[in-house]
């Protein structure tokens, strides 16, 4: 199988980037997309060229570190997967595949396809936790949590923090990410004491990071590898309102 990759190369945050085409032969359908890039990098090394920088770690769709735009879509042509779960059987022999980094002002490019997503960490730092020191917890079954509530918290908690929601959003909004984090903790009784403060602090930080506003296009939930529903954003907005009223 042969593919032509057109890949965004950019040496540093300040440098001017450009798309460079690489024709790659000797690929097979069983290979994952990232394995094809690994193969390309080995070819570049043998030619004495610098490798393409891209991110990955677990390669099983759970760590959230991988993520690039492939043919104009976050994580490639399928709904609800990560880049590492994409395989070459999704392409035709001879295809040209356009590969770009996440594009969002709040995710500045570090090198080639690697962007800086520390804005997400700073949103969490502003309240994405339950304050309970090690050693202070009550017996686990002392606080009952109904299955429906636990399931709803789990649905939101499944977010892997990859940033596809931001990258695909025309406003580069981080609403889905922030909502998932807030709704996970605020749905649970353990998260209740800090609920109002959490929602206000985290949404404030989200805005301070320069992410755009949500205009409910729904693009984010289609690309989300964990299928986190856009309904979470409505729920977050309701929580913001409630917190402001009752705060």
């Amino acid at each position: 199988m042969q593919l032509t990759f057109k890949i965004w190369r950019q040496d540093s945050p300040e440098a001017k980037g450009q798309l460079i085409a690489y024709e790659v032969d000797g690929l097979t359908e069983e290979m994952s997309f990232l394995e094809a890039l690994d193969h390309l990098n080995e070819l570049l090394v043998l030619k004495g060229e610098k490798v393409i920088a891209y991110e990955y770690d677990c390669r099983e769709g759970i760590c959230g570190q991988c993520g690039v735009f492939i043919n104009g879509r976050a994580h490639g042509p399928h709904d609800h997967i990560t880049t590492c779960q994409l395989h070459l059987r999704s392409f035709q022999d001879g295809d040209t595949v356009l590969v770009e980094p996440w594009r969002a002002e709040s995710f500045p490019i570090i090198k080639d396809l690697i962007v800086d997503r520390t804005a997400f960490d700073r949103i969490i730092t502003e309240g994405g936790y339950i304050s309970a020191k090690t050693g202070t917890a009550p017996e686990a079954n002392a606080i009952l949590v109904g299955k429906e509530i636990a399931d709803r918290a789990m649905d939101a908690a499944a977010c892997i923090g990859c940033g596809a929601c931001v990258a695909t959003c025309k406003n580069a909004s981080a609403a889905l990410f922030t909502a998932a984090k807030i709704n996970h903790l605020n749905a649970l009784p353990q998260g209740a004491p800090e609920a109002h403060r959490r929602v206000l602090d985290m949404t404030q930080q989200m805005e301070a990071e320069g992410f755009g506003h949500c205009s409910f296009t729904g693009a984010c939930e289609i690309e989300c590898p964990q299928e986190i529903s856009i309904a979470n954003i409505a729920e977050m907005n309701a929580r913001v309102l409630k917190a402001k009223l009752l705060g």
Partner: protein, 636 residues
């Protein structure tokens, strides 16, 4: 050198309490003056960093990923064990201690294993309070399920994403302490060397993975929580970035390396599909609760799975181990799969897999129940293979997974270097020669949250008189120079082979000779071949780009040369241990039925290897069994 395990006095169930009652304490005002470096942000690292910071210490925490939330604890799917006995099925701390010690084939310390079981209950309380959405009954109480090697239900889980949910809890607690100014977080920084002053751990040299800059960090103690080293096999269930460099550098600085050859081969991963494959994805062992493992009775049967009638299916685990069946421990299940595959019964394109079938479970419970229990695992299977496992059986295959071996630590989790601690998968402590499913998240968390924060005081209390450690000290200057020269030397080779190419060769040898089945001739040959790879690396490796920029190819090469040296030690240890136990199966030592033959009189010890100028010297920590006499492990 005598290895002092520092096991406290008293009866087994009193030891940890006695330890805590007599441990040294440090007054809160003084804790502020003490600094601790933590390497790694998985459950062990993030748990330790957050808890030490809560106690008042100043923490510097490092990870190679872009954010601490990526650590590979996140990938554990199935669950975490605790002896809560919520299911009223006869579980207890003693039972869990027994299962874990027996599961590890009597190659771990009784006192450590008992402590693991003892603290498991409070750990579940802790995570529940941190907001982990564990699975619940409609009435609101927590649910449990079974895991391999035990006959009670003591595994807590959050769908098939338990590791991710526990890690997110640890990361959130770490984030809270970052906000409080008690933790300085250095993401995209990788430890390159350990700095010793007067024989004590005093700091590290780290490399900034964005700029390539080498940086010096000092502290009163250094805690390694850098995870497992199974990427030595290249194809493994580990993250691609998981590496053994931090512990290997510590080993070369004097930390003893215990039981390096004890590596678990997990029975239920997705089979290798191509030569270019970089990773084997794990399918949670929890699937074995409801899935049945089989191969066609006929050799090289080309029929589709659904076309093979019941009478022609060999449910070999149920046949060989009737009382545990599909829930036999991992080492046994993996070896049994290898035996069937080698005998010509393997399935799939490369004939390297066995079936994991849910047909009967779906008939019995209905598809909705199976979806609720394993839905995300089935959808993950579909994403990777394109196959709907509700309609036909999954194909699975053994893969390198967890490393039981690691830096030798005493009861306080301190290595043989004063002031250097090792937690979680990177130490050798509780799992012996084989780890039971759902005990990994448990051990990492307990080490980080509950043990280290209690035991580190006894060392740090002595450090209050210590003046600030200057990173201008000769030891830092020299260590940094050594790292810079090492990197320049790698870049200067300019050969004809990529780092990945060497890694494939190393992995192939390790998988062939030092995985599920080992023998003297094979191991001796492997040692020679790996030595050749080591020499070849320094003559033929090619790394492009420079040292002073982001260079992912250089990152790989630096990790790889450490893996090559570690591979040598793993084979040396496997060769040295002339018995079979747990995951270590020496073909020369087996029963007539092909089961492992342990030799307690000669080998009831933990091997602890010392590094001496490129040579390895074996020391022994004898294991004494006061409460449980080693018996032949039977799961029949």
């Amino acid at each position: 050198m005598r290895l002092e395990s520092k096991i406290p006095e008293g009866r087994l169930e009193e030891k940890w309490r006695n330890y805590q009652a007599n441990a040294r304490l440090i007054n809160p005002a003084n804790k502020n003056k003490l600094q601790v470096i933590v390497i790694g942000t998985g459950l062990a690292g993030a748990g330790a960093a957050a808890t030490l910071a809560e106690l008042g210490y100043q923490v510097k925490c490092f990870c190679y990923q872009d954010t601490p939330r990526r650590a590979h604890s996140t990938a554990a799917q199935g669950g975490i064990n605790a002896a809560k006995n919520y299911q009223h099925d006869g579980d207890s701390i003693w039972r869990m201690f027994y299962d874990t010690l027996k599961g590890g084939d009597f190659r771990s310390r009784e006192a450590n294993v008992y402590r693991l079981a003892e603290i498991s209950g409070p750990l579940i309380d802790h995570f529940t309070q941190q907001g982990v959405p564990f699975a619940r009954e409609y009435g609101g109480v927590l649910i449990n399920r079974s895991f391999g090697g035990v006959q009670v239900q003591r595994t807590f889980y959050a769908r098939g994403q338990t590791g991710q949910q526990l890690l997110l809890a640890a990361y959130s607690q770490l984030s809270k302490m970052i906000r409080a100014g008690k933790v300085d977080m250095y993401a995209r920084h990788e430890m390159q060397d350990l700095v010793l002053i007067d024989g004590q751990a005093r700091g590290i040299i780290a490399r900034d993975l964005i700029t390539g800059e080498l940086k010096r960090f000092s502290a009163n103690a250094v805690v390694l929580a850098s995870g497992g080293y199974s990427r030595v096999f290249r194809l493994s269930t580990m993250a691609i970035g998981s590496n053994g460099s931090a512990i290997w550098k510590a080993h070369k600085r004097g930390a003893f390396f215990a039981a390096p050859s004890f590596v678990q081969i997990h029975p239920t991963a997705l089979p290798q599909a191509s030569q270019a494959q970089s990773k084997l994805t794990l399918m949670s062992e929890s699937l074995r609760n409801d899935g049945r493992i089989w191969v066609p009775s006929k050799k090289r049967d080309e029929r589709k799975a659904n076309d093979i009638p019941e009478a022609e299916r060999d449910y070999y685990l149920e046949r060989r181990y009737p009382s545990f069946g599909n829930l036999a421990p991992r080492d046994i299940a993996s070896r049994a799969a290898k035996e069937r595959i080698d005998a010509g019964h393997g399935v799939g394109q490369l004939k390297n897999a066995v079936y994991l079938d849910f047909k009967h479970a779906i008939e019995r419970f209905g598809i909705d129940v199976i979806k609720d229990r394993y839905g995300n695992l089935f959808s993950m299977y579909k994403k990777i293979t394109g196959i709907n496992a509700y309609e036909e059986p999954m194909k699975i295959s053994p893969a390198a997974h967890f490393s039981m071996g690691g830096l030798w630590v005493d009861y306080e989790l301190m290595t043989t270097i004063p002031g250097l601690y090792a937690l979680g998968e990177c130490n050798f402590s509780d799992h012996g020669a084989n780890r039971l499913g759902a005990n990994s998240l448990l051990q990492a968390s307990i080490d980080g949250y509950f043990i280290l924060p209690n035991t580190i005081n006894s060392y740090l209390a002595e450090q209050l008189q210590q003046k600030d450690i200057s990173t201008e000290h000769e030891a830092f200057v020299e260590a940094e120079r050594g790292v810079a020269e090492h990197i320049d030397r790698i870049l200067a080779v300019q050969g004809k082979r990529t780092a990945d190419d060497f890694h494939r060769e190393l992995g192939g040898i390790m998988w062939q000779e030092c995985a599920m089945s080992r023998n003297r001739l094979g191991l001796e040959k492997a040692i020679e071949q790996i030595e050749q790879i080591r020499q070849g690396f320094w003559k033929e490796v090619r790394v492009t780009g420079g040292a002073h920029e982001m260079n992912t190819e250089l990152d790989k090469a630096i990790r790889l040369i450490d893996f090559i040296e570690l591979g040598l030690l793993m084979c040396t240890d496997a060769l040295d241990r002339e018995e079979s136990c747990g995951a270590h199966f020496r073909e020369e030592y087996q029963t007539e039925e092909g089961e492992a033959l342990r030799k307690d009189e000669e080998y009831a010890f933990v091997s602890a290897w010392e590094y001496q100028d490129g040579q390895f010297r074996r020391h022994k920590e004898h294991l004494e069994f006061e409460y449980l006499q080693p018996t032949v492990r039977s799961y029949k």
